[in-house]
Symmetry: C2
Subunit: 362 residues, 2 copies
């Protein structure tokens, strides 16, 4: 194990048993992929919390958590499905109910995710809200909200996240000044799209973001760059970086942390999975004034799932990040381990540059 | 056959034998799905023309038309593939080369499409350009450009179309004043997306378009509405209309013609296919000041493939439109028949309203 990739000794920093369920019928199965931002003297994590319905006694029944709207307000509710009646559906996967004979057609997810704020003075010990900070809505998020990323711009914070509904997994945008009240801007990327991170600053007068569409027929799950003048409407999409044909990133590749501007360019910690769904973190460096130019990119993973809490969990062999911070010369990566818990790794910038084989003219 | 659905007696109006190939190595296999606009005293069709490479004598070889860039200019070129060497590929489908055992992963298309203008004084007899009007570019359109739709706005025309490359099928935008010089605005919808039609006018200060993403895992090929302030950047996407579970529109549904504003609302001729890929035209009426509201929608197809040139062709049992015109009380639909030729159907508005079961308080 690389001694320069420093896992925090208190990992996991947040785990399911730390979380008060949103409903007495629910159980928390994961607190993981979190957005991160430093605000005044606090580190703020916006955590994805996944819950399932506490299993019913009747083994022929499956209960699904959903969001319903009553009298204009959204509520969590439980839908009970009778396995013996739904003969066209396959209930064998604990994560989802699929159409028999078609693993790519999901009928229901078995868990539902929402977001909660956790705050810390030292970046290690976090106090987590007892209730949901952001609930999925009944309209475009019936199956939950996932993987938030936070970009500070001016006096606002912009949160991009996956909005999941029976119509697909899309990317939506929420704006906040204070993490108390939130303004929804709706879907910014049509399904299927995920892993959207807005760059924290205009580049040549334009906002940029990375995103990861999943085309059905032609192409692969690759990273694209999109451009905007107002953060709500996006266009001028260009392909940035694709999966490689072999190795650790031959399955899918996608944006990870919100990019950080360093003196060498935009530092992007991204995720990649192989065909066996082993998720690692890689890094690329994009030109400061032209993010379409990749100056350097990982040949090998920067971070691999190696320790117990990364290998074993709700979905094992996963390290996945939605945000990191630059503290002096240290990159602090907050990451989801095994779709189960939130952990922290510290890496010196110089170690990342060495990994990228960038020479130092000193 | 419904006598009020009037197929033009000169159908097909344009067919492959009317087209001069773009290269002496190419043959034209289709002139079909065309955008349409009336400009001064002319009807202008922007036609999709599909070409393949004239088959080589060696039966172990397959030749593919592609776009290459040399010295800053884009050219058509032929790539020769050796079937005996590419053992992982399946060459049995005449339309595409796919990965063996995975019909959903396309390696190459066997044909390449570009656009050509056809002009007519009477809307029936067309004069077609001898050379490509719009060529696919080498960057995002290596596998061609397909299914153009033309929206007039102010003194400009905005052309949306499918841009196909190994990175996926996306939607791009081109602007023109005169159909002679063209300004490219790049990709407006990420892969996989097609069937984009911009409404010909702002609605409550906002541009609207219909588009049809194809999500890989959750959801189906449905029609969405998107919003823009500048036509180049799009957001505030909402789901408009999904496939139905049975019948003629249970496979896919997508925008067809650019919407027409009538006194009853936006008239939208759309396409729908069943699971056997039989493509019909349906119609929906959207509220004039709120296109997210469907006032009425076809229960049965408005137009079905019924006559020889619709049933037989490069891809049979297809009627597909990218544009129609309102001439007095007559809707003139230009449509692609069997991915082969361009045809015309005339339908009185009143017939369409009866089809939609809209009553007339007269």
């Amino acid at each position: 194990m690389n001694k320069n990739i420093i896992r925090n000794t208190e990992n996991p920093l947040l785990k399911p048993s730390d979380v008060v369920p949103s409903s007495k019928e629910f159980q928390v199965i994961g607190i993981f992929n979190c957005g991160v931002v430093r605000c005044l003297d606090e580190t703020i994590l916006l955590c994805r919390i996944a819950e399932t319905v506490i299993h019913p006694e009747d083994e022929n029944k499956v209960s699904i958590p959903v969001v319903v709207n009553k009298d204009g307000r959204d509520y969590f509710e439980t839908v009970s499905l009778d396995k013996t009646k739904e003969t066209a559906w396959d209930f064998s996967d604990s994560r989802q109910i699929i159409l028999k004979g078609n693993a790519l057609k999901i009928i229901y997810l078995t868990s539902l995710s929402h977001f909660r704020i956790a705050r810390s003075k030292d970046g290690v010990h976090f106090e987590l809200d007892q209730k949901p900070t952001i609930m999925p809505n009944n309209k475009e998020e019936q199956w939950g909200i996932e993987d938030p990323r936070i970009t500070p711009l001016g006096d606002r914070f912009y949160i991009t996240y996956t909005a999941v509904s029976p119509n697909g997994a899309a990317v939506s945008l929420i704006e906040t000044k204070d993490f108390t009240s939130f303004q929804r801007h709706g879907i910014i990327f049509l399904p299927e799209n995920k892993d959207t991170a807005i760059f924290p600053g205009k580049i040549n007068g334009t906002y940029y973001c990375m995103n990861r569409p999943v085309p059905a027929v032609i192409g692969s799950p690759d990273i694209w760059l999109s451009r905007s003048v107002d953060l709500i409407h996006w266009g001028r999409h260009t392909h940035l970086c694709g999966v490689s044909s072999t190795g650790w990133e031959n399955g899918r590749i996608g944006g990870g942390a919100v990019p950080i501007l360093t003196d060498k360019g935009w530092l992007v910690i991204y995720h990649a999975a192989d065909k066996r769904n082993r998720y690692c973190l890689g890094v690329m460096l994009l030109a400061a004034d032209a993010p379409e130019v990749i100056l350097a990119k990982s040949k090998e993973p920067l971070v691999e799932p190696l320790v117990d809490y990364e290998i074993n969990g709700f979905f094992g062999n996963v390290v996945f990040t939605c945000g990191c911070l630059l503290d002096g010369s240290t990159v602090i990566i907050y990451y989801g381990a095994a779709d189960d818990s939130i952990c922290r790794i510290d890496i010196e910038l110089e170690v990342i540059y060495e990994h990228l084989e960038i020479s130092f003219p000193e």
